[in-house]
């Protein structure tokens, strides 16, 4: 904890009993987001997971959605605007039955023709409704889609470029905007941004860029269990962590995302509730597998994984982490039963290093890329220093190459072979690992080697490639889950990453906020929340 942070926490703890609260409307939930701006409101949101959480699954729906009702089990896909779907014998043609009677906030009906219009909005740059800003967010999410057409009002057909059983996961990204509203706003997306229309449980009532967005319930929402109980939800961008904490402690907001770890004891001591849960996020070192990389030796990879005392790292994060046992969180439905136990065992780690030819007289030198801050990176400086010290115990000397977050993203896109990474053999990058593609395939697929894809380390393995192919060609969800487990077991058994920890998405809220169930997901359901005065 920084000296400043300690001071802040101590002062707030000492006096918050006298905390004054500022008047607010009944039934209004005010949320301090970490984003610096209101996420894009037109449909396909920006601002990453936070954008989808607050402006995506609130105002809009997708054909297939994530089940956000349970805190106890991992989220799975459930019907959204599509009630059922199936793939034809050619394994390319998918048929979606759409939910009848769904209307947008402007009153226009949701039909297959509107769904097609929405796909064109993202994929066909010659279409009238093509929106480059939404396309930038959505196009890369549905790489499987080759074509689509409306069979009738409530039947949509999508054809994929190749057999791809992960299509339902891809479609969970795609949010449906109202065609009628776009036309009513003069076919102008900028006008739509101020007055958007989706089919979601919340309607955007007011919007001041960079300052606030006000959402009110859509009482005619098609899923009665998800009609919001609140009168209003106000979203406020508060990117500075201490400003967020102060806003919560002074009663200006009722809920903040990602409170600074050193302010959490003060908040808890004053009755504020810290909600957290495992979710599909990891904090790893993605290893270079280029020729000459020391991480090509499985003994070194396993030794490094055994050298980190993850439980010892927990106080650094105020306990808000899940020690990694693999690439996916241990609670994931795809975790499987790997034989390599990722744990702290210094003796075993040192033995492996000696077997690999290293020891007190012969240190291994590695270069590691990291950033001092960044979206989802937790506390990268102290955490990486902890890893550095841990690896020093097994004679691995780590030299860091520290770059600013924006530049880090560029270096991640560039890949391990790019001269700009200056020979770094790993990159500390946190991952959104919610579906088969983002969770497993994109990191190690031979076809996605950087810079053409997101396989930073240039890993390529025939057996892994066969597993990826099997994931895409196994259309039965239960059988597909089994293949995903098998794939993750290989990730762990071969220690393909340096597995360190998983974030738990902490959020702090006033005690009057009731009824929130934190799903094991990047997105959340705000409909069940009430304010108890």
């Amino acid at each position: 904890m920084s000296r400043f942070g300690k001071g802040f926490a101590a002062m707030t703890a000492a006096v918050a009993l006298f905390c004054g609260s500022i008047a607010q409307a009944e039934g209004t939930l005010r949320i301090g987001m970490t984003a610096a701006d209101i996420p894009l409101t037109t449909g396909q949101t920006d601002q990453g997971g936070e954008g989808m959480r607050f402006m995506g699954y609130t105002v809009y729906d997708s054909l297939i959605e994530w089940d956000l009702t349970s805190a106890d089990k991992p989220s799975v896909l459930i019907p959204g605007l599509a009630t059922e779907w199936s793939v034809g014998e050619d394994q390319l043609t998918w048929t979606f039955k759409l939910r009848p009677g769904v209307t947008f906030h402007d009153g226009s009906p949701f039909t297959a023709e509107v769904a097609v219009w929405n796909f064109d909005k993202l994929l066909v740059d010659s279409s009238e409704q093509y929106d480059s800003r939404q396309a930038a967010q959505g196009k890369s999410r549905i790489p499987a889609v080759a074509s689509y057409k409306a069979i009738d009002d409530l039947t949509l057909e999508i054809t994929t470029k190749a057999p791809d059983a992960t299509l339902p996961y891809q479609l969970a990204w795609i949010l449906m905007s109202s065609k009628a509203n776009w036309e009513a706003q003069g076919k102008n997306w900028e006008a739509v941004a101020a007055k958007p229309s989706g089919t979601g449980p919340w309607k955007l009532e007011a919007f001041v860029p960079r300052e606030r967005a006000e959402l009110v319930p859509n009482t005619a929402y098609w899923d009665e269990t998800r009609v919001p109980k609140l009168d209003k939800m106000v979203l406020i961008p508060l990117p500075e962590p201490n400003a967020r904490s102060a806003a919560l402690l002074s009663g200006q907001v009722d809920w903040i995302e990602a409170p600074a770890p050193d302010t959490i004891p003060a908040m808890q001591g004053n009755g504020f509730v810290i909600s957290s849960n495992a979710y599909p996020h990891n904090w790893t070192w993605h290893l270079s597998r280029l020729e000459g990389s020391p991480w090509n030796d499985i003994r070194v990879r396993k030794a490094a994984n055994l050298a980190i005392d993850r439980e010892g790292m927990m106080p650094l994060l105020g306990g808000l982490m899940v020690p990694a046992k693999g690439f996916l969180p241990p609670s994931s439905q795809w975790f499987g039963n790997p034989t390599f136990d990722v744990k702290y065992d210094l003796e075993a780690a040192q033995a492996l290093m000696k077997e690999a030819g290293f020891g007190p007289e012969n240190h291994l030198k590695v270069k590691a890329l990291m950033s001092p801050s960044g979206s989802g990176q937790m506390l990268p400086l102290p955490m990486n220093e902890f890893v550095q010290q841990s690896l020093a115990e097994i004679w691995i000397d780590v030299e860091f190459m520290v770059v600013e977050w924006n530049q880090m993203i560029n270096l991640w896109r560039a890949g391990a072979a790019d001269p700009a990474v200056e020979g770094s053999q790993s990159i500390n990058f946190t991952y959104f690992i919610q579906d088969p593609f983002t969770g497993l395939i994109r990191h190690l697929d031979c076809n996605l080697v950087a810079p053409n894809g997101t396989n930073w380390g240039h890993y390529c393995d025939d057996e892994m490639q066969a597993l990826f192919k099997k994931i895409k060609t196994t259309f039965d969800p239960v059988e597909q889950d089994a293949v995903l487990k098998q794939t993750h077991e290989k990730f762990v058994n071969e220690a393909l990453f340096l597995f360190v920890t998983h974030d738990v998405a902490p959020r702090a809220m006033a005690p009057k906020v009731k009824g929130f169930v934190q799903a094991q997901n990047w997105y959340q359901n705000f409909s069940s929340i009430t304010i108890e005065e």
Partner: protein, 317 residues
Amino acid sequence: MLSYLIRRLILVLPVAFGVSVICFLLVQIAPGDPLTAIMPVDATAEEQAAMRAAYGLDKPLPVQYAIWIGNLAQGNMGKSIATGRPVAGEVFGAVQNSLLLAVSAAIIAFPIGTFLGFLAGYSRDSWIDRAVTALSITGVSVPNYWLGIVLVIIFSVNLGWLPSMGAGPGGSQSWAWDWLHLRHLILPAVTLAVVPIGIVARTVRALAGDILTMDFVQALYAKGMSRADVLRHVARNAAATALSVMGLQLGYLLGGSILIETVFNWPGSGFLLSNAIFQRDLPLLQGTILVLAMFFVAMNLIVDVAQAAIDPRIQRT
């Protein structure tokens, strides 16, 4: 005077051109990619290239500059890459909010700084002088973002008297001159005022102290002029220099409040600039820096003209 004004206005043109070149080049030098703000991190290289072309970022720098300056000459500052909104609207909206904050801070800082400076200058080497000097050094030295957070802890978190963030219940677009909104202004304005209080006090103290030792002051006393009348003369002599310092301070208050606006979530140009930096939003960065730089140029011009008007000894030929 008129010819002086015209000459100064003409001189603004090359300065503005230089500022535009520097703004454009500075933001290009910074590492990072503006596309990061608008594309998922795992967008493919092909998709990135298409988007780069769509925003004209694939063109050579001189061409990008020519397009930007050409649009600027027609009053078009372009669109923010991160938000898609017109830069002009974003910048001028934010500058209005910053101006509100800066002027409020100036209203607090300049009279207090002037009074304290005069007091110290008049009572040179006394305990008052030492106290004011200590105060002004503290004001100049204290990190204002730290002070801002301390004030938030005391007045927002502990006492609950004043809000800690934002520009009012409905945001800056519904700003009104009532207590509900003004209370949002108090903490950031006071925090922002601390540095200029110190600077103005030190400047005025030095000026007043020096002027009081000049021969003409003794002559005024010898003529039997009252102490108040003498001080009026001293004030008039100090005014030109003090005014130029205040003018520059107002410029700093407008453009240099990034940290304050971040701490208080005040939707001004500093907050906008800070977000634009993190997002590498080049058009927004260029537009904001340019507008703030031009504000400095305008402030300098106004101060020069005001100095000439106040002090006839300042000959401008």
